[in-house]
């Protein structure tokens, strides 16, 4: 449901909420607070400010002064990209956005306020939550957030990514890199397997007898045929994938002794990348908009929270239907949410929601593949309309073009989100 201000006043239900926390006519500016400055939040803030025509007071809350994108961070692990190339500041985000570098620690939905770690309280008319993911502490037996310095997840980009790369670079000759892959649903479905490809590429240069062991609780995974073809072609014999049938789903890790235990059998490894099960970024649960799955259900036509009509949830944190959790999806969803919020607060035209996503992955230098789909809201969920995936056996020219396209996309989406 899309509420325009005019219809808003007329309906009983909406009128009640209007009394509870009125949008004051003649108030200088209507306030939108956005929590999370990644592909979803930064895009939403920019579009709200850009298209709001100065009518909206937009505040973006992001803990990190410099944001490091998780997308493309595997290319850094593969030695194909600088760490700095993944980093984006907020200085170009646009004049209409106030950026506060702090951590949101509380949301009072009745009073419509957000509390920050620094003590500041931000009132809002609309709140956008785009906090990405957090990890389930009990997802992998033996692993907890206390172990991240020994067995890094590197699934929120930043120091964790640099730590994992340092570990790969200093692996002993012929050593073993283990990855505990996450259960569904998780951020960036092809991400763990692109990471395997990029780590394999790095090891092939300096440590060609090293082994990669992937322990996976899933029967199948994104772009599986493409990755398997690529691993056989470029890294033959290096990668072993262990699915649930052979114990990949019941893995225990021992950070103290650097062991992984598969079906009761302990194996010593040199690097262990644990990508645990995931839930919505913590602030979503604090705000009380998540359900017992740990994700935040939203209305498919607007990304509005099903728990609160003044709150929107974007990207990885949201439970919306068929779209994968990706930066592209978050960016796409942010535009729909920004348009809807602007319509509600300023009476501007609201067009039907359209969503899309494409995920590029790199298997080896200049060998890129992609999967994508377009989506539309149905009453139940955001539903896939049409999809495509790269084919096995494609020629080198097409794979190179796909890779170059992914570079173009990275430049495009980061400019779209960060300015």
């Amino acid at each position: 449901m899309i509420l325009k201000r005019r219809s808003f006043i007329g309906t009983g239900l909406a009128a009640a909420s209007l009394l509870a926390a009125p949008i004051v006519w003649g108030q200088a500016k209507l306030r939108v607070v956005v929590i999370g400055g990644g592909a979803g939040g930064a895009t939403a803030a920019r579009y709200l400010a850009k298209d709001g025509g100065g009518a909206l007071d937009v505040t973006l809350v992001e803990a990190n002064p410099i944001y490091t994108t998780c997308f493309f961070s595997n290319l850094y692990l593969g030695g194909l990209r600088d760490f700095e190339s993944l980093q984006h500041g907020y200085d170009k985000i646009g004049a209409g956005v106030t950026v506060i570098h702090d951590m949101a620690t509380g949301v009072d939905r009745a009073a419509r306020t957000v509390t920050l770690a620094g003590g500041q309280v931000l009132p809002y008319d609309r709140l956008v939550l785009s906090p990405g993911i957090d990890f389930k502490d009990d997802s992998v037996p033996g692993w907890s957030l206390d172990a991240v310095e020994v067995m890094p997840h590197a699934y929120k980009a930043g120091p964790q990514t640099q730590l994992l790369k340092a570990m790969v670079d200093s692996m002993p000759q012929g050593g073993t890199f283990a990855m505990v892959a996450p259960p569904n649903p998780y951020r960036c479905p092809p991400g763990p397997y692109e990471r395997v490809s990029m780590v394999a590429h790095a090891l092939k240069q300096t440590n060609p007898t090293a082994k990669i062991l992937v322990l996976d609780p899933k029967d199948k995974y994104s772009k599986q045929a493409l990755f398997e073809e690529g691993w056989a072609k470029y890294y033959n014999g290096m990668v072993t994938w262990v699915g649930p049938e052979f114990g990949g789903g019941e893995v225990e890790v021992r950070p103290d002794s650097m062991e992984v235990v598969i079906e009761g059998e302990a194996q010593k490894v040199d690097v262990c990348n644990v990508i645990p099960g995931q839930i919505a970024g913590r602030i979503a649960a604090i705000a009380g908009v998540t359900d017992d799955t740990g994700w935040a259900p939203v209305h498919p036509d607007s990304m509005k929270s099903k728990a609160d009509e003044n709150v929107y949830v974007l990207g990885d944190s949201s439970a919306q239907g068929d779209m994968p959790k990706s930066g592209f999806s978050a960016n796409s969803q942010a535009k729909v949410a920004a348009m809807t919020i602007r319509g509600e607060l300023t009476g501007s035209k609201v067009f039907p929601a359209k969503y899309s996503n494409t995920c590029w992955s790199l298997i080896a230098p200049e060998d890129g593949v992609k999967v994508g789909a377009s989506y539309e809201p149905t009453p139940e969920k955001i539903a896939s309309v049409e999809s495509f995936i790269s084919g096995t056996g494609e020629d080198a020219a097409l794979r190179k073009a796909t890779y170059e396209e992914s570079l173009g996309w990275y430049a495009g989406i980061t400019a779209d989100a960060f300015g």
């Binding site: 495509f388 097409l398 173009g408």
Partner: protein
């Protein structure tokens, strides 16, 4: 056209025409030869001794990947279509000759296009005779000759709503940068509306091969394409 190349090739054609299984009739090759001389030969050669001139040689063009002649300096746009998977078939050549820029936006071929479908068929019948197996073209159904995109005047005359286009364009700008950068992904900023409409309909009809764009264009209505064209044309 190099002197002598054409007559020799025509002689070859006569021999091939006499093969036991005749190629499917797609047009009048003799008429096509005259059209070629008048409209194409200033830049292109065809035949066993043909060489690249202003344009690449057209001998064996059928079945060849776009931009695949290693000795020819193609436009970036043509190379991109080639790596996207554009192959020259009866259908794609027909579309290209009808309106080169609807298929390859940045082609350097300065030819405004050939509107008459019969003339195009004649020309293609002529060019087909310089392929290895003329009788295998068209490979399957003769309907392959159908001209796409079939842009009716009422589609071309839709006046786009730039405000709607601006909203829709937010989907484009995830990849296509508004400032006109074209690393890996071509720019669409400032495109003439007519070219934009032709290109999007060519994707929609799956004539242009790129799968992301086929999907994106596939769900855009005629009005939405016009709105986007109006918006991108207006960008500074």
């Amino acid at each position: 056209m190099g002197q002598g190349a054409l007559p020799l090739a025509l002689a070859l054609f006569v021999v091939m025409g006499a093969s036991p299984v005749a190629a499917e009739e797609i047009g009048d090759a003799a008429r096509g030869a005259k059209l070629f001389q008048r409209q194409c030969a200033a830049c292109h050669q065809v035949g066993p001794e043909a060489v690249n001139r202003v344009g690449p040689t057209l001998t064996g063009i059928f079945g060849r990947r776009a931009g695949a002649n290693k000795d020819f300096n193609y436009s970036k746009s043509m190379l991109r279509m080639g790596s996207d998977g554009l192959t020259w078939t009866l259908k794609s050549l027909d579309t290209y000759i009808e309106n080169p820029r609807s298929l390859v936006s940045g082609t350097r071929m300065s030819f405004r296009g050939m509107d008459d479908p019969v003339a195009r068929s004649d020309l293609l019948a002529f060019l087909r005779d310089y392929s290895d197996q003329p009788r295998d073209i068209p490979e399957a159904e003769p309907t392959a000759l159908k001209t796409l995109p079939d842009l009716a005047p009422e589609i071309l005359s839709i006046k786009g709503d730039p405000e709607y286009g601006e909203y829709l364009s937010s989907e484009c700008s995830t990849c296509h940068q508004r400032d006109g950068s074209d690393q890996g992904i071509p720019t669409i900023t400032n495109w003439p509306a007519e070219d934009f409409v032709a290109a999007m309909h060519a994707y929609k009809a799956k004539l242009r091969p790129h799968p992301v764009m086929q999907m994106m264009a596939g769900r855009l209505s005629n009005e939405e394409i016009a709105a986007l064209a109006a918006y991108f044309e207006s960008l500074d």
